[in-house]
């Protein structure tokens, strides 16, 4: 038994320890990274919004409070710490990756605290200053959030059913009064519309000139089968409007998300139209979509967000 073999073996072990330590260090985030969220909410609903961030698995952190446009908000769910327990801190996390946790913070925006800017009564923000329980404070870009002051709804339409199947959402609406729909819009047009396709299904008698060709985004062609004009479902675009609907007619919305998207969505699809009395209205259909991240998604998000910081 020659000493040489021992030292060769130990040299390899030491190299492996150092190599793995360096690789581990290189994967550590300097600060937690917030994902992109495209959220739209009505102030009077006071519905909480959940924001997601990546933290180091060796150093998970909870959000202590956030400051947006000078207003401080506390997370609506606090981790309960008891004084007498010796239990180690167990982080609350949504998903676990090799070097990172996906953690979340849920915030509520009470009506009286919301600083509205501009005449449209919409408070929009893209950043928040987040302070964590370890004292670290960061300015995080979080996508885009719109808090809308007043909800203009109509009694001309009513949502009967909503269902979700993976990346597909469908919403079934009934018409209560004769109306004309002039357009269907989704908010955050640039970022969101790249990853969302809205289609509508109508009774054949409603459509006089069904469009012969339809314009699908590339990711949709990539991921889903396209059957031309299947079951009277049409991609929502300007050629389709106006649509006249009588009482007891129906309209079905199909919303499909790009399966490769890496953001969180919660927004309203808006149906803009007029009633036969000449009144304009908009009807809101709530759409929510969460992402289930893979390790590759996480790597890409970190590369994108950290690349962005250096610029």
């Amino acid at each position: 038994m020659k000493d040489r073999y021992l030292w060769i073996g130990l040299f390899i072990v030491v190299c492996s320890i150092l190599g793995n330590s360096l690789y581990f260090q290189s994967k550590q985030l300097e600060q937690p990274i917030f994902l992109n969220h495209y959220y739209e909410t009505y102030a009077q609903h006071e519905s909480p919004l959940t924001f997601y961030y990546l933290s180091n698995i060796s150093e998970p952190v909870e959000v202590s409070y956030v400051t947006i446009d000078g207003v401080t908000f506390q997370p609506s769910i606090h981790n309960v710490f008891t004084m007498w327990t010796n239990d180690p801190y167990i982080p609350n996390y949504e998903q676990k990756f090799t070097h990172h946790y996906l953690q979340s913070v849920t915030l509520q925006f009470p009506v009286q605290d919301i600083p509205y800017a501009g005449k449209d009564g919409i408070w929009t923000f893209n950043e928040m200053r987040v302070t964590f329980t370890n004292g670290q404070t960061i300015d995080a870009t979080i996508g885009e959030v719109k808090v809308i002051n007043t909800l203009n709804d109509t009694d001309a339409l009513v949502e009967r059913r909503a269902s979700t199947d993976n990346y597909n959402k469908s919403n079934y609406l009934s018409v209560l009064k004769p109306i004309t729909i002039n357009s269907i819009t989704i908010p955050f047009s640039e970022e969101v519309s790249k990853n969302v396709l809205t289609r509508i299904m109508l009774d054949p008698k409603v459509i006089n000139n069904p469009p012969t060709s339809q314009d699908f985004p590339f990711w949709y062609k990539d991921k889903f089968d396209i059957e031309p004009n299947e079951n009277n479902v049409y991609v929502s675009n300007a050629n389709l409007y106006p649509i006249h609907l009588e009482r007891d007619d129906w309209i079905k919305l199909y919303t499909t998300f790009n399966p490769d998207h890496k953001s969180y969505f919660e927004f309203y699809i808006k149906l803009h139209g007029t009633t036969n009395d000449g009144e304009t209205f908009e009807y809101n259909v709530l759409i929510g979509e969460r992402v289930y991240l893979t390790q590759q998604d996480v790597n890409e998000i970190i590369a994108e967000k950290q690349g962005g910081h250096k610029k």
Binding site: L6, S16, N20, F24, I57
Partner: protein
């Protein structure tokens, strides 16, 4: 000095090092185990000069292992990986123990050679080789643990753990067998 007294001490020494019974502190303290090993080796080192390295390392380990009386090796924490000074301490301690066992095999090798029992000499040598292959694989794998998901590592970790325990037992049995040789060193 008879070899059987020396190997009885060494046997109990390794047993104390590997068995942790904690009642507030490690009552089967590692430093005592290393001292027994040191004391056993010292009594035969004059006849077996190759044991000098093991003797020096064992007495160093008596001092170096004192913190283990109060601290246990950190198991994988719930919050994932911690990269504390204690991890480094136990990494160094484990490697030092591995070196000590390598030197022990050198002593055993020397004794079995002198005993003239060729079959036993060969077997002891083979056990040493297998022991170090298993420990080498274990050490290498454990260095990758921080960069892999804990869950994905479980099956291989379990296999290596069992293989490690078996090899420890085989090593202890070998120490006992050397003791039973009851040979007098010239």
């Amino acid at each position: 000095m008879k070899i059987d007294d020396a190997f009885l001490k060494i046997f109990w020494g390794f047993l104390l090092v590997w068995i942790d019974i904690r009642i507030m502190i490690d009552i089967l303290a590692d430093p005592i185990g290393f001292y027994l090993i040191y004391s056993g080796i010292r009594s035969i080192v004059s006849k077996i000069p190759i044991g000098k390295k093991a003797e020096v390392l064992a007495i160093l380990l008596v001092i170096f292992s004192i913190p283990t009386v109060l601290t246990s090796e950190p198991t994988a924490p719930v919050s994932g990986v911690t990269f504390s000074e204690w991890n480094w301490y136990f990494t160094i301690l484990n490697i030092a123990v591995l070196i000590l066992i390598f030197y022990m095999f050198q002593i055993i090798n020397e004794i079995t050679k002198q005993s003239g029992n060729q079959a036993f000499h060969k077997r002891a040598f083979r056990i040493g080789v297998i022991y170090f292959i298993v420990m080498f694989i274990t050490q290498i794998s454990s260095t990758f643990a921080i960069n892999l998901l804990l869950e994905s590592l479980m099956p291989i970790a379990l296999i290596l753990l069992i293989a490690g325990i078996i090899m420890h037992i085989v090593f202890l049995v070998l120490l006992d067998e050397v003791r039973k040789l009851k040979i007098e060193l010239d």
